[in-house]
Amino acid sequence: MAFVKSTRAEPAASPETTGACLAQLASPDAGIRRRAARALAGDPGAATTLAERLEVETEPSVRNALFGSLVAIGGAPAAGLVAPFVRSEDAALRGGAIDALKQLDEAAITAVDELLNDPDPDLRLLAIEVTRAWPSERSAPRLQRIFLQEPHVNVCAAALDVATEAGGTDLLPALQALRQRFQNEMFLLFAVDVARARIGNPAETDA
């Protein structure tokens, strides 16, 4: 018969001590580095080392594990360690950081607000994406401020995309103000119209 029914367990890997894992983060073998990073998921003491490894790690599966373990550790300090990677020259690291900040949820609020206030418009833009995962009452005031004050068109556009999903009728006046501020920007006017169409009429939502 071709088929076998094995009764023995075949575990994926044997557990290692924290010290061994920390050392293995620098192993020449990517599989070992990934396993080590995964094993440190429950260890808040490892957070700084995990973040340091992200600065030098190039293998995607290991980067995944490093971010994943930082998220599992959780808390504002972990968010603070993840946030700087939004500034990275490497698009994949930026994306990984944004995703991790989304998963950190409330713990990342301070870090995200800092990014939303950064002088670099590209950072403000990337940070807005995190708010897509937030409940409407948390994202609305941030979006409102952007619509009223943000000078950079791409940052406004990113906020509009979140508003198409998360926006409520309370944002309509700010959207009107945004429309006034960018009267010559065809794409932005288009995006405002989409956001308004998705948010709908106050009369419609009073059902």
């Binding site: 930026r94 995309d161 989409v194």
Partner: protein
């Protein structure tokens, strides 16, 4: 422009119309490009990140990809490298869009496999002209 657009084109497709794959994680951007490209007579499909884009490119027949850089799961540069590495898709022209106007990003895009690079927000006429150029067609 009409904000209430059809999400999926329901008119019968023109077999000979060029097929364009728009890859951007922002819904409003995909809608905007769709309007422009459909008005130019192209058939448009969408993807929300590089991995979905790659799946669609590998399964379908596309004559042009328009791909953003910053996307979750798989960014635009990773998409371009994979597109060029895959025999079924390596020859598809690709137009990259990004918010960063710096020369560094321009070079990265070309190195990763883009044929051309546009800075966001993309003006309607630019998208139309460069799409036509990469499709080997006269400008509209």
């Amino acid at each position: 422009m009409n904000a209430n657009l059809k999400i999926v084109a329901e008119e019968p497709e023109d077999e000979l119309a060029p097929r364009v794959l728009v890859i951007d994680d922002a819904t409003v951007v995909r809608l905007y490009y769709r309007q422009i490209l459909e008005a130019d007579g192209y058939v448009v499909e969408e993807a929300i990140n590089g991995l979905e884009g790659l799946e669609k490119a590998m399964q379908g027949r596309f004559d042009l990809c328009i791909v953003d850089v910053n996307m979750p799961i798989m960014d635009g540069f990773a998409f371009l490298r994979a597109l060029r590495a895959e025999p079924a898709t390596s020859g598809i022209p690709a137009l990259t869009t990004t918010t960063e106007a710096g020369a560094g990003d321009h070079r990265s895009a070309l190195r990763a496999g883009a044929n051309f690079f546009l800075v966001k927000p993309v003006a309607r006429q630019h998208l139309s002209d460069y799409a036509a150029a990469l499709l080997g067609r006269p400008a509209k």
